[in-house]
């Protein structure tokens, strides 16, 4: 990565270099043939970095290729880099996830909730199951009016030993998720447990589907809004954070 000081002199020369004798629309692609000799145009530095969590959250087990996944081994180092960077001032978390691995989801949520930089999350489309702790992990959360969040209990698949301890184990695993949501949002544990075991909302499971404003009504999400509101809020938090944090 270029140093800030080098940018003004390096930038004007690079586009000319790349365009020489190239009618091909992706002129840069040809220049990359000499990989190693030609550097890509220096991308402008963004104060706000954007982490998109899409599809399934993939944790300890690789999912078959028909699943779109966000992998924790990609996300966690990125979060460490954002936390350490001097140039990045805030993080926008965009969620469109169907859920996934509990451990990976909670790991990412804990990382985001313990960052010193301002974070804002925006739920678009869906932020289901383990996407709920991720949505509430940011300093401030938004949900699009049409977005949905499904609140439902965790379950085990595969071979399950039918003993009382299994039930106890499952309860404790559920509590990890519930406690995280309660710690980072305005919903009470009683109300959340009520939503978890709600009937009539889902065809083949217990739980509740919250659409847009309903998630705000129950206190899980802070505001209904879109990308503009989320970025405005993030900029506001960044201006308040000036001088604070690690740098």
């Amino acid at each position: 990565m270029l140093n800030k000081g080098e940018n003004p002199t390096a930038q004007p020369q690079q586009p000319q270099q790349a365009d020489e004798g190239n009618a091909f629309s992706y002129s840069q692609a040809d220049s990359i043939k000499e990989f190693g000799a030609v550097s890509a145009p220096a991308a402008p530095d963004s104060e706000i970095h954007c982490l998109t969590i899409i599809g399934q959250i993939e944790g300890h087990i690789m999912l078959p290729p028909q699943n779109k996944t966000t992998k924790y081994e990609h996300v966690i180092p990125q979060l460490v880099a954002i936390e350490q960077s001097r140039d990045i001032k805030g993080l926008l978390l965009i969620l469109n996830t169907v859920g996934g691995d509990v451990e990976a989801g909670l790991a990412i949520a804990e990382m985001i909730s313990t960052m010193s930089k301002p974070t804002v999350s925006l739920v678009l489309g869906g932020g289901h199951s383990i996407g709920v702790p991720l949505a509430v992990s940011a300093d401030c959360s938004f949900i699009a009016p049409s977005a949905t969040m499904t609140i439902h209990p965790i379950r085990m698949t595969g071979l399950v030993v039918g003993i009382p301890q299994t039930y106890e184990y499952l309860n404790r695993m559920q509590d990890r998720v519930v406690d995280f949501i309660v710690r980072h949002s305005k919903i009470s544990k009683e109300k959340l447990n009520e939503l978890l075991i709600g009937t009539g909302g889902l065809s083949s499971d217990v739980g509740t589907v919250l659409i847009g404003e309903e998630a705000v009504h129950y206190g899980i999400i802070d505001y209904v809004g879109g990308v503009r509101d989320a970025i405005l809020k993030l900029r506001e938090l960044i201006s308040q954070n000036k001088g604070g944090g690690l740098h």
Partner: protein, 74 residues
Amino acid sequence: MILHTIVPVQYIFGDFTAQTRLNYRIIEWNNIKLEVLPAGKQGYQINRIISTNPFDYLNPSLQPGTIIRLEPKI
């Protein structure tokens, strides 16, 4: 492992044999993680960008579909 998801397990782990398994690889190019598909000798076609810098997605040389060549540098 506990999967907490709204997607039924048979959709996640079901064997969709009709689908060809594409040989995606994840490489790092100029400090940017890219999910690529091998395209010929030393060539890789970009499928998606894995980056938190939103401006990486505007970089014309990283648009999905672009073929990049990785040649050994001596």
